[in-house]
Symmetry: C3
Amino acid sequence: MDSAPIVTLLSDFGSRDGYVGAMKGVILSLCRDAHIIDISHDLPACDVFAAALALQTAAASFPTATIHLAVVDPGVGGDRRPLLIEAAGATFVGPDNGLLSLAATAPRRIYHLDRPAYFADEISPTFHGRDVFAAIVGHLAAGLGCGQLATRCESMVDLEIPEPAVQAGVCMGEIIHVDRFGNLLSSLRREHLGGCDNSLLVEVAGRRIKGISLTYSEVAVGEMVALIGSSGHLEIAVNRGSAACELGIATSSDSRVPVSVSAAAL
Amino acid sequence: MDSAPIVTLLSDFGSRDGYVGAMKGVILSLCRDAHIIDISHDLPACDVFAAALALQTAAASFPTATIHLAVVDPGVGGDRRPLLIEAAGATFVGPDNGLLSLAATAPRRIYHLDRPAYFADEISPTFHGRDVFAAIVGHLAAGLGCGQLATRCESMVDLEIPEPAVQAGVCMGEIIHVDRFGNLLSSLRREHLGGCDNSLLVEVAGRRIKGISLTYSEVAVGEMVALIGSSGHLEIAVNRGSAACELGIATSSDSRVPVSVSAAAL
Amino acid sequence: MDSAPIVTLLSDFGSRDGYVGAMKGVILSLCRDAHIIDISHDLPACDVFAAALALQTAAASFPTATIHLAVVDPGVGGDRRPLLIEAAGATFVGPDNGLLSLAATAPRRIYHLDRPAYFADEISPTFHGRDVFAAIVGHLAAGLGCGQLATRCESMVDLEIPEPAVQAGVCMGEIIHVDRFGNLLSSLRREHLGGCDNSLLVEVAGRRIKGISLTYSEVAVGEMVALIGSSGHLEIAVNRGSAACELGIATSSDSRVPVSVSAAAL
């Protein structure tokens, strides 16, 4: 391919330090033409699940042969392995803590980054983003192969979006993400709900919403609406407002708010 | 032209989700060489006016043939039209809610994006940024013409910066924007003020500022200053501080704070 | 060199206005192929020291011939000079307020940007980032030489990381930066501490930490840890938490929190 290699970056490094810049510099030092594309760097600190979802959302749109570098790595320097994965026509580089697992779907080839010859000369135990991952990405962008940079391995940490439960005609899921608009993304997907129409009743945090709408603006400004969002998940939103604020919901992988969908009462 | 097409992105999608990345991926999937340039993605959610001003500020500096993609789109999925505009030597793509109107000044050619063949195969009613606008931008970057992608139309929603009123020698305007430094940008421009000098008195939120300065640092640290800002608007600022904090002003298109300029009292 | 010139951008302009975009547009108008790389734009407003540290952190990783544009410029329009510096294999452009001084280390050639022919036609006294610095960077990217764009000068404002004091076996420094994770970076570097091991006692804000660890995860989640961070400075952190929150520390160049390291008591 003649085009410059596309490299995406996602991290929780924020935008008030030099950490993101340091990773970019390392990549460009190894492949001056790398076409670096920022996904997001203000992911909540250390929230691997939120970052995995964001990577999944973004990576799905990129062309084949894109290299995705993702670093949300609270276990840096510990015993979590550094990984490289070939999957979905792309290459993913990051820590083995589940971060890559929603985007890098099976079938996939998993590699353990175990060859220090391709890392920085000196490796900070607290910044593998720069000294391990960005260095590997730079080598990939420069044309080195996965088999040269790393060793095949069998398994990796997989995050899972919790499977909905169905009981007595009620489909029960959880809020798995609050986006920047305060929209609440649930674990329920279109296929769980059967026909998405006005006969369904959504319940979350003591609030009932009747019917599944197509768009935010089907309800009045300030009103709550349930719809199937752009990633296929049932979403609760407020038209031009924040459902998260109105319902007092903040996400956390530890204690997720339940959401249920049932046939509407008469 | 041999150079890669320049594509700018502006949105209120923030930097903690995968939405911006998804748009970039779509563009690069259609034009791998697109030179993607971020303007801003942390525009206040759903604030079309603030985003229109930011786009105007930024777009003015770009070279001809730049493609500007802007998505602040609270009416997504409703009946607002998707637009493409040729104006000011550039191309603008986004919703018909006024967002493009301050940057894409007359003379301009307006097109309605009404040809789904150039959208994504499946269109989420809540994410036209990805499925409609980014797809169109990708095709533009790949060399397709406006006339091929869309249909000419006559009118679009235009935002307006409120015209100042002059009464009894007092020029009255409004605060139209608070920037990241807490500087207050007003609707008054240099040409409204006649000679900008020390004989003028600026009044805003009960505070009086004597004279129009050239720079922030003409007054002591922590003091308030009025000057003509970089976009030609009268601006109220605090040297190394925040005028917005000091005066307790937050902008909103709904209730704008008045500002007046008059000849200074003796 | 055939590759496009790499230009990095760092500022405190935030990501909700058009200011960063305006600078990018100016650069691309003068050099359409410039490979623009964002370092960070949400640096604390007007905090020159924090920005200088971030630039230092990032710039160290970039390849030779990179052009670094940095604008944190509270004195804009006043008598601080606009500078261009050749140092460390790179070129730095920005205000003479110390911002460039930590990254552009000696030996260096300093130039005063005193030739308006290379600035914008009209110069806003409040936005030299766009009208002076970005214009110069565009010309540099387009291949003009430093000697053509500016005039050699001898000195510049240098910031300094305060030197630690050693008294009675106690090494005393200061917290110089709080990063986005709430990690506290101190002025103490590895070389000040002699052997970094478990026999040392770190004290900050009334808290004592025994021993210098290698990684955050050497202590339990929520516990405080001292280690040598990725830039070589002694750092105080909380594993998966924020040391800044836990200790109630916010940085400020004016009143820095002391930190000391001594031999551990028996």
